[in-house]
């Protein structure tokens, strides 16, 4: 069997895409579309909901149903779509600005509500589209266009947040491992309940340039060299975790999703 390319979900004549050289969004989108193809998703019952920013531009390339929303609110829109039509595959593409900075409230409540959505958060540690400003995931002391003396705040650990807030599936990928990313996407898409895939991505244009990773490969190698499989990471003593980045699947559980629980509400209402 030929390998999935995902091309059938891409709008004809649209390439090359608008993202910077070295950015991970194209790899993320490729992995997602290949996952769609391997799962045999039809464009008619797939809805891709996007926010604002670099990742939020992804809908421009797709021939699935799409809803390009406002900054930070993509999950709330997706919640309405999925709540009303549970048969749809609803995938939400966000950056770290959308997902856990302006949209932090929606993110924790989507985890708690456990809507059967797949949220893919491309985390490049800064606001790329608007010029590389500090975000809710920018690590402490890192430099951005608005933290030129170093970030005084700590950055969110998206996966830890998702796990604590109640998501059914939580994983982290890096673009260095594209095949694994596609496999992770498939797991996330098929897991019932709220799934979160954090894609930690290079942003050589803004983040790398300001943080001693001037070349495009530098950031990719920085991610590769920090990455440790989650099981190995958990076995590391606290003192050796340091700058390491756990990748892989953190959580896979089957709490009932929102629509399943709502069905029981409906049946109680209709009996009473």
């Amino acid at each position: 069997m030929a390998h999935a390319t995902g091309m059938k979900y891409l709008k004809g004549g649209i390439l090359p895409h608008m993202w910077c050289a070295g950015c991970g969004i194209g790899i993320m989108l490729g992995a997602l579309l290949r996952a769609f193809e391997e799962l045999d998703y039809a464009a008619t019952d797939t809805v891709v909901v996007t926010g604002i920013g670099c990742t939020g531009k992804a809908d421009d390339y797709l021939v699935t149903n799409a809803l390009h929303t406002t900054h930070g609110r993509a999950l709330a829109y997706a919640t309405g779509i999925k709540a009303y039509n549970p048969k749809l595959h609803v995938v939400v593409l966000m950056g770290d600005g959308d997902g856990v900075t302006i949209g932090g409230n929606h993110f924790i409540h989507a985890c708690r509500r456990n809507m059967d959505l797949t949220a893919i958060i491309l985390n490049n540690f800064n606001f790329g589209m608007t010029g590389g400003q500090v975000s809710g995931t920018t690590p402490q002391e890192c430099h951005t266009s608005t933290t030129i003396y170093g970030n005084p705040e700590r950055g969110f650990d998206i996966c830890a947040l998702a796990e604590t807030a109640g998501a059914n599936y939580v994983a982290r990928c890096i673009p260095y491992y594209g095949w694994e990313m596609k496999e992770t996407m498939k797991e996330a898409l098929t897991q019932k309940g709220f799934s979160v895939v954090e894609v930690v991505s290079p942003c050589p244009t803004h983040f790398g340039r300001r943080n001693e990773m001037k070349g495009i490969p530098d950031m990719l190698h920085w991610l590769r060299d920090r990455a440790v499989a989650v099981d190995a990471y958990r076995n590391l003593p606290e003192s050796e975790r340091g700058e390491r980045l756990a990748i892989g699947t953190f959580v896979s559980r089957d709490f009932p999703d929102f629509n399943t629980r709502y069905e029981s509400v409906r049946s109680r209402a209709q009996q009473g």
């Binding site: 604002i52 390009h68 929303t69 309405g80 779509i81 409230n105």
Partner: protein, 397 residues
């Protein structure tokens, strides 16, 4: 025995709620809004509690699941209107209810509903501000917030009921307008109307017209979600149907994909405005009382309509011919109706529960600066009473 008590005694039989089977019910305005929405076919409500609108949410949480619909309480008003828009694009008649502070939070996403031409209804039960203000007291000070609260060059429809009966009927109308014109519609009762209780004769299921959105009929490959028909309105598919489509908050072309071409942007902006403008006469709803023969015209919205009518009746008893024009549609503003009646009056009196005269300024735009226009404003969270209005009717009449 009054009709109210007769209806009230019928509410429960053998412990069962029989309200739905009764023709006449004692209802609160907010309850009538929820019932009107259900009558219009609403099956999805997403909201966040806020006084004085919360009864709408409570009724929906009880009734929608019984009807196979859904009530979902979101984390804030921003999420609520977003979920409503999402559900609408999945095919639902969807709505939310809030009050001033929550309505402020909804504005950005309401702009997406305008831009994406997504049918939905937002109820803003107006309370006194600014900020938390008088949280449980009425006002009519969101007139301009409803019209201009969103950034950019856009328009929508807003309706304002003055009684519990109108709460029901205008909610049905709000859904009909939303579906017919692919536009968000704001229903803007004030707190007095929202919390008022009156007997309402509920219409039979087929008595009022219920409009459903126009859906595409052509080949799916040819579907363009922003390609308008002759009437200026484009058919809207639902996610999950055989029609695949894009909706974008960005400037977009006929196919829904983002498009930054200046000509395209100008076309979009014109189209959003013109689809409302060309149907303006169907959208603008007013009521008149004793205006055939008058020297003083009262222009009213919402709860002040009643004070205005009482004042007009009293004025006639005292020898001054006064009539009332009630604006059921607030946006687009009924300027022609105001001008037509206004030029037959020697004086216009505009009572409204705000300091700034938001309705009065629009009336003045319609009738011109030479009109003897008197403002009656109250902004302390209490209702304008007929005596307040009479003073302005008699001052020079």
């Amino acid at each position: 025995m009054s009709a109210a008590s007769r209806s009230f005694r019928c509410n429960t039989v053998n412990g069962k709620d029989t309200l739905l089977s009764k023709e006449i019910r004692l209802m609160q305005g907010n309850e009538a809004i929820a019932e009107g929405a259900i009558y219009a076919g609403a099956r999805f409500y997403a909201g966040y509690p806020i006084t004085p609108s919360s009864e709408i949410a409570e009724v929906c949480s009880q009734k929608l699941p019984k009807l196979g619909g859904m009530y979902i309480q979101m984390e804030d008003e921003i999420a609520s209107i977003a979920a409503v828009i999402g559900a609408s694009l999945a095919g639902a008649k969807a709505f939310t209810a809030t009050s001033g502070p929550g309505f402020s939070l909804m504005q950005e996403n309401l702009g997406l509903a305008v831009m994406g031409e997504v049918p939905c209804v937002v109820v803003n039960v107006q309370r006194a501000g600014p900020s938390t203000g008088l949280a449980t007291r009425p006002a009519q000070s969101d007139i301009m917030q409803v019209r201009w609260g969103r950034h950019g060059d856009q328009t929508l429809i807003a309706l304002c009921p003055s009684s519990v009966k109108e709460c029901f009927a205008l909610t049905v109308t709000a859904f009909n307008f939303a579906e017919r014109y692919r536009v968000p519609v704001v229903l803007m009762p004030d707190e007095i109307v929202g919390h008022m209780r009156e007997n309402v004769e509920l219409p039979a299921p087929d008595a009022l017209e219920v409009v459903n959105r126009k859906t595409p009929t052509g080949h799916p490959a040819d579907y363009k979600p922003f390609q308008a028909d002759e009437d200026g309105i484009a058919p809207l598919a639902a996610y999950g149907s055989e029609y695949v489509f894009h909706v974008s908050s960005s400037m977009h072309g006929l196919d829904g994909y983002s498009n930054n071409d200046p000509n395209n942007a100008a076309w979009r902006i014109r189209q959003l405005h013109e689809k409302i403008a060309r149907h303006r006469d169907e959208i603008v709803l007013t009521q008149t009382f004793d205006t055939d023969d008058m020297d003083v015209l009262l222009v009213t919205i919402g709860a002040t309509t009643r004070s205005g009518r009482a004042a007009a009746i009293e004025a006639r008893k005292r020898g001054v011919k006064a009539g009332v024009l009630q604006l059921q549609t607030v946006w687009p503003f009924p300027d022609r109706e105001v001008a037509e009646l206004g030029q037959r009056a020697k004086r216009i009196v505009v009572p409204e529960m705000n300091y700034s005269g938001q309705i009065a300024d629009e009336v003045l735009k319609a009738v011109g600066p030479d009109m003897d226009l008197r403002r009656v404003n109250r902004y302390n969270g209490t209702i304008i009473n007929p005596q307040d209005i009479l003073a302005e009717i008699f001052d020079a009449a």
